[in-house]
C-alpha cells in the first residue's frame, strides 16, 4: 500500500506537537498547576487576605453576592485600563449585590499599592495577594486574570488578559443571576 509522504510527514508533525505539549502540561501539573481548568463550575477557593488598611477579608464571607475577583499588579499596564471600568461597574451593579475584589500580586510596598489605587480612584477593596492564593487559582501567571463568582460562591467564568468592558458586563450579569440564593428569592 502506497502512502503519501506529505500526509505521513503531517501526521508525524502532529504527533510530535502533541507529545511536546503533553510533556509540558505534565510538567506544569507536577509544579502544582493542576487546579487550572477545574475551577469553573466549582466553589471558588476560599482565602483570607488583608486589605491595604489591615482588615481581613474572607472570600466566603461574601457568599450571597456576585464577586469579580481581579488579580492585578501595579506594573501591569493592561490592568490599569480595566480599573476605571471596575470603578463604574461597582457603582452600577453594587446595589444589586455585586462586589469587586482586587488582589494585588505585587512586590511593591503596601504604600505604593495604596497610592496607585488612590490615584486610580478605586472604590472597591484591594487585598494584598499571596503566592499561595494565586496557586489555589491555578497559578496566576498572567495579569490581569479575572474570575467571576456567582452568589453561591461558584466560579462561572475566568478571563486572562485585558478584555473589553462588554465581556465583563456579560459575566457580571450572569454571576448576579446565578446561584441558589437567586432561586430562593424568586
Amino acid at each position: 500500500m502506497k502512502r503519501n509522504p506529505l500526509i505521513l510527514f503531517f501526521v508525524a508533525a502532529i504527533v510530535a506537537v502533541m507529545l511536546f505539549t503533553g510533556i509540558r502540561v505534565a510538567r506544569n501539573n507536577r509544579a502544582g498547576n493542576s487546579g487550572k481548568g477545574q475551577l469553573i463550575g466549582n466553589l471558588a477557593p476560599d482565602f483570607d487576605l488583608q486589605t491595604l488598611d489591615g482588615k481581613d477579608v474572607k472570600l466566603s464571607d461574601l457568599r450571597g453576592k456576585a464577586v469579580l475577583l481581579n488579580f492585578w499588579a501595579t506594573y501591569c499596564g493592561p490592568c490599569k485600563v480595566e480599573m476605571p471600568w471596575f470603578v463604574e461597574l461597582q457603582k452600577e451593579y453594587g446595589p444589586q449585590g455585586f462586589q469587586i475584589i482586587g488582589v494585588a500580586m505585587d512586590d511593591a510596598s503596601t504604600e505604593d499599592i495604596a497610592k496607585f489605587a488612590k490615584d486610580m480612584g478605586v472604590n472597591y477593596p484591594i487585598l494584598l495577594g499571596k503566592e499561595s492564593v494565586g496557586e489555589s487559582y491555578g497559578g496566576v501567571s498572567v495579569l490581569p486574570t479575572t474570575f467571576f463568582v456567582d452568589r453561591d460562591g461558584k466560579v462561572i467564568a475566568r478571563e486572562f488578559g485585558l478584555q473589553s468592558r462588554s465581556v465583563f458586563v456579560d459575566h457580571i450579569k450572569k454571576a448576579l443571576s446565578q446561584g441558589q440564593a437567586v432561586q430562593a428569592r424568586r
Binding site: 500526509i7 503531517f10 501526521v11 502532529i14 506537537v17 502533541m18 505539549t21 509540558r24 502540561v25 506544569n28 498547576n33 487550572k36 481548568g37 499588579a73 501595579t74 506594573y75 501591569c76 499596564g77 493592561p78 490592568c79 490599569k80 485600563v81 500580586m105 512586590d107 511593591a108 505604593d112 496607585f116 496566576v140 501567571s141 498572567v142 495579569l143 490581569p144 486572562f160 488578559g161 485585558l162
Partner: protein, 178 residues
C-alpha cells in the same frame, strides 16, 4: 481525508489545551551564547551580552519612564578576583501599545545588548573563570503582563598574563636575592 480530519481534531485539542495554559510557555528573553573574552591581568575588558525578546513581547528598559514599572536589571556576581566595573544598558525604544495608546513606554523589543566592563585584579591567576549573574525583567504583550522573571546569565573570562613591566632599575646580579 480521514487522516486530515483526525489531525485537525488533534490540533484543536492542543489549541484547547493551550487556552488553559496561557502566557509564554518558554522564557520571553533568551541570551545568545557568548564567546570567551580574554582579559589581561589588571586591565579592563568589555563583555557584550546579547539578548533576544520573543516576538510579540516587550520588556521595560533599564530606565522605564512610567512610575511603578520594573526596570530590566543585570546583576553580575563579582568574583573575588574579577571586579565588575560598569554595566552599560542600551537606550530603550519609546513605544505605545494597544492597552495604552496615548502613553509611551520605554522598552526593549527584539535584540538588545548589555555591555559589562570587567577588570581582573593584577593578582588573579591566569586561566578561565566563569562569571554568573541574572537578568531581571518583566514582560508584557498587547493584552497582558507577566510576573517578573530572572534569567540566569553566565560568561567566561580568560585571564592572560600581563606583560612584564619595564625595568627601571639598573640590572642586578642574578644572585642578589639569594
Amino acid at each position: 481525508m480521514k487522516i486530515l480530519l483526525a489531525s485537525s481534531l488533534c490540533l484543536m485539542s492542543v489549541w484547547a489545551w493551550a487556552q488553559d495554559n496561557p502566557g509564554p510557555q518558554t522564557s520571553v528573553v533568551k541570551m545568545a551564547p557568548v564567546a570567551t573574552v580574554t582579559a589581561v591581568q589588571g586591565k579592563p575588558a568589555t563583555v557584550s551580552l546579547l539578548f533576544r525578546v520573543a516576538n510579540g513581547y516587550h520588556i521595560n528598559s533599564n530606565q522605564p519612564k512610567a512610575e511603578y514599572l520594573i526596570p530590566t536589571v543585570l546583576k553580575v556576581e563579582a568574583t573575588t578576583d574579577i571586579v565588575i566595573r560598569k554595566t552599560t544598558y542600551p537606550e530603550g525604544k519609546d513605544m505605545s501599545f494597544a492597552f495604552a495608546p496615548d502613553e509611551k513606554l520605554n522598552v526593549y523589543t527584539g535584540d538588545f545588548k548589555i555591555d559589562v566592563l570587567v577588570r581582573p585584579l593584577m593578582s588573579v591567576q591566569t586561566g578561565k573563570y566563569v562569571v554568573r549573574g541574572t537578568l531581571k525583567y518583566q514582560a508584557c504583550d498587547n493584552q497582558a503582563c507577566y510576573p517578573p522573571k530572572q534569567l540566569p546569565v553566565s560568561f567566561d573570562v580568560k585571564i592572560a598574563k600581563a606583560a612584564a613591566p619595564p625595568h627601571r632599575n639598573p640590572a642586578q646580579s642574578p644572585d642578589v636575592h639569594q
